[in-house]
């Protein structure tokens, strides 16, 4: 395959409505990239963030492509590399910064760290650290949607490593037996912490797990936001029709260590370079310029605007107070 072909995105010919969609993609992908850059490369190094930082750098096309295919009443179970899902649902960057700084302005008011965020009003369910544990819970949310006679869908996001967990298989098995409206979005970024794919599973693809559950499973270029979006739409349509779960494996690469403390030295150097060339944001920018969807300065203007908003969001978060220790005992149980 020629280099030019690998860079080509799965976008239909013709100007619209893909132009408008491309701008929405770019907005959220850049927002996620920039917020995470500030967290990982500035605030963390300045000592303003205590604890772990898990970034989705290089994987932004997945949460953006899928997130913009969801219905607002769909229930989302993001993983720790899906920050854009929060922005798409209306969470503000300032809340994310405050979350990472342990302030009351964060989604968990200092109760939990980093991407462990949820808000049921926005149909966002918080991940727990035992990766893959969200899958049976998402199956339960899908069960509830079906039970309530809704046509909406539960979406659960996870990485390749999660598919080694028993919880993943138990959740998928139950969901397929019950034909629940569940979309399974895998970011196969080829590493689970330091463990490469070949030490994680004997099959070549996460999608190979689909047939064992009589579940449709497709592989997409996870760095092509249009391809992810189209696959997500197909999966959601399948689930909404009552045909059961649908698995999408997004092939991508984690352009960072497992977390901010991990330089990722175990990754062969050539892989960084190869995947940097496939950066999902650069590819989208290039397409938008080629198609004439973006004028010479327009993309830079968008980025400048988002950077200003992010500056303000960080200021806000730094002013947000730490939780009062007197609140320690609150909300272990329902207040009576």
């Amino acid at each position: 395959m020629a280099a030019a072909d690998t860079m080509k995105l799965a976008v239909a010919d013709g100007p619209d409505p893909d132009a408008a969609l491309a701008w929405r993609f770019l907005h959220y992908m850049f927002l996620m990239r920039e917020v995470e850059e500030r967290i990982e490369r500035k605030l963390y190094r300045q000592g303003k963030i205590v604890g772990g930082v898990y970034s989705g750098r290089g994987q932004e096309a997945i949460s953006v492509g899928a997130g913009l295919a969801t219905h607002p009443e769909d229930v989302l179970f993001p993983c720790h590399r899906d920050m854009a899902l929060y922005f798409i649902r209306g969470v503000q960057p300032r809340q994310v910064f405050a979350q990472y700084m342990g302030r009351v302005g964060g989604l968990t008011r200092g109760r939990d760290a980093n991407m462990h965020m949820g808000d049921l009003r926005l149909k966002l369910v918080s991940i727990v650290s035992a990766i893959g544990a969200s899958v049976p819970v998402a199956a339960g949310a899908a069960l509830a949607l079906k039970y309530q006679g809704s046509r909406h869908v539960a979406w659960v996001f996870f990485g390749d490593g999660a598919t080694s967990r028993g919880d993943w298989h138990e959740g998928v098995n139950f969901a397929t037996v019950q034909k629940l409206p569940l979309v399974l979005m895998c970011n196969n970024n080829q590493y689970a912490y330091s463990t490469p794919l070949e030490l994680q599973m004997a099959c070549a693809n996460v999608a190979d797990r689909g047939p064992a559950y009589a579940m449709p499973a497709e592989i997409v270029d996870g760095n092509d936001v249009f391809a992810v979006h189209e696959a997500a739409r197909r999966a959601a349509a399948h689930a909404r029709e009552g045909l059961g779960p649908y698995l999408i494996e997004c092939k991508t690469f984690r352009m960072t260590g497992h977390s901010a403390h991990d330089p990722g030295d175990y990754v062969p150097k050539h892989l960084w370079a190869e995947w940097a060339a496939k950066d999902p944001i650069l590819r989208l920018e290039q397409l938008m310029r080629e198609r004439g969807w973006a004028g010479p300065a327009e993309i830079d203007e968008l980025y400048a605007r988002l950077r200003r908003e992010i500056d303000e969001a960080i200021d806000w978060a730094e002013k947000s107070p730490y939780p009062d220790p007197s609140s320690l005992l609150d909300d272990v149980y329902e207040r009576r």
């Binding site: 965020m117 808000d119 339960g140 509830a144 139950f174 272990v332």
Partner: protein, 323 residues
């Protein structure tokens, strides 16, 4: 008509299913088969497969699905076939369900029912009393009824509660305990112990099937002139400390009795609270009586030796009163 402990739980669930369409059942072999102990017998016919869901052999999926449905506003009642298998869903319970409200303010109304306890020669994997694992997990509630009346009233409260509840039913009581209970709706509040038997000379703090061991011992002790009060905790988490302390302040002697193994059992916690908060009222050290620190053995003589019995309670009670 006298109602068994098993039938009381069944009635409680049935009435809640009739009352609230968001209540549903999920578990292994609970539908067509009616459950390993027949608690859910007849419910599939009455409520249909939408609300009585037979699952694969998959405890993490059962618990996980119950959590997901609870987050969405339903009221799942999940059955573990035996409480021994709850370990297979342990992460879902302690890391997911228990922490949602504290972490991000999300309620997980959910009941996990699990037949627990020994005395039926079930061996190491059908006899355990796992309450201490869950009592050590803030965010959960842990309920262990001893009587048919409480079993019905507590299962109803558990189903109506907005926090995850581990509901441990003692399988040896299912058909052994029979009593008159109200036919219609009533509840027993979570988190409240009760005085099972009034007494003056010592307090036996216990729960579950051990209430009857304590009762048997108290009958014998009474003939010897020792009046034993029995506190049936009913709920272990949150613990009704006030009722325990009030009884101990009255009697000045305390035995803590449970069926689970001694070391790390909830008896240690209760003994510590008595020592911390009622020390001045004690005439003797707090005594714990519990099962041996072994897996639950299978063969009847071994199982009998493993379990606390009335003779041990009597012996310790006499010693306490002589102290």
């Amino acid at each position: 008509m006298p109602t068994t402990y098993l039938e009381a739980i069944r009635q409680g669930i049935w009435e809640e299913m009739e009352r609230d369409p968001s209540v549903f059942l999920i578990g292994e072999d609970i539908g067509v088969y009616g459950g390993a102990f027949k608690i859910t017998a007849g419910m599939l016919d009455r409520f249909g497969g939408r609300r009585v869901i037979d699952t694969p052999l998959s405890e993490a999926a059962v618990v996980g699905a119950a959590i997901g449905a609870g987050l969405m506003g339903l009221r799942p009642v999940a059955e573990m076939q035996f409480s021994d298998f709850i370990t297979c869903g342990f992460d879902q319970i302690v890391n997911f369900a228990a922490k949602c409200r504290y972490r991000w303010g999300a309620a997980v109304p959910m009941v996990i029912r699990a037949p627990s306890g020994a005395g039926i020669h079930g061996g190491p994997f059908h006899s355990q009393s796992p309450e201490a694992w869950f009592v050590h997990t803030p965010g959960l509630k842990v309920v262990m009824p001893a009587t048919a009346y409480d079993a019905k009233g507590l299962i109803k409260s558990a189903i109506r509660d907005n926090d995850p509840v581990i509901f441990l039913e003692h399988k040896a009581l299912y058909r052994r305990i029979k009593e008159e209970i109200p036919a219609g709706d009533y509840t027993v509040p979570l988190g409240q112990a009760r005085i099972f038997r009034d007494g003056a000379d010592l307090t036996i703090v216990t729960f579950g099937a051990m209430v009857y061991v304590a009762e048997e011992a108290a009958g014998t002790l009474e003939k010897e002139g020792i009046s034993a009060e029995i506190v049936d905790l009913r709920t272990l988490l949150p613990l009704d400390e006030e009722t325990i302390l009030a009884s101990v302040r009255k009697t000045s002697r305390a035995i803590v009795l449970h069926e689970a193994s001694l070391t790390g059992g909830v008896g240690g916690e209760i003994a510590a609270r008595i020592a911390e908060k009622a020390f001045d009222h004690l005439d003797a050290p707090v005594v714990r009586i519990a099962a041996a620190d072994t897996p639950v053995p299978y063969s009847p003589p071994l199982e009998e030796a493993f379990l606390p019995n009335a003779a041990r309670v009597i012996e310790k009670a006499r010693a306490l009163c002589r102290y």
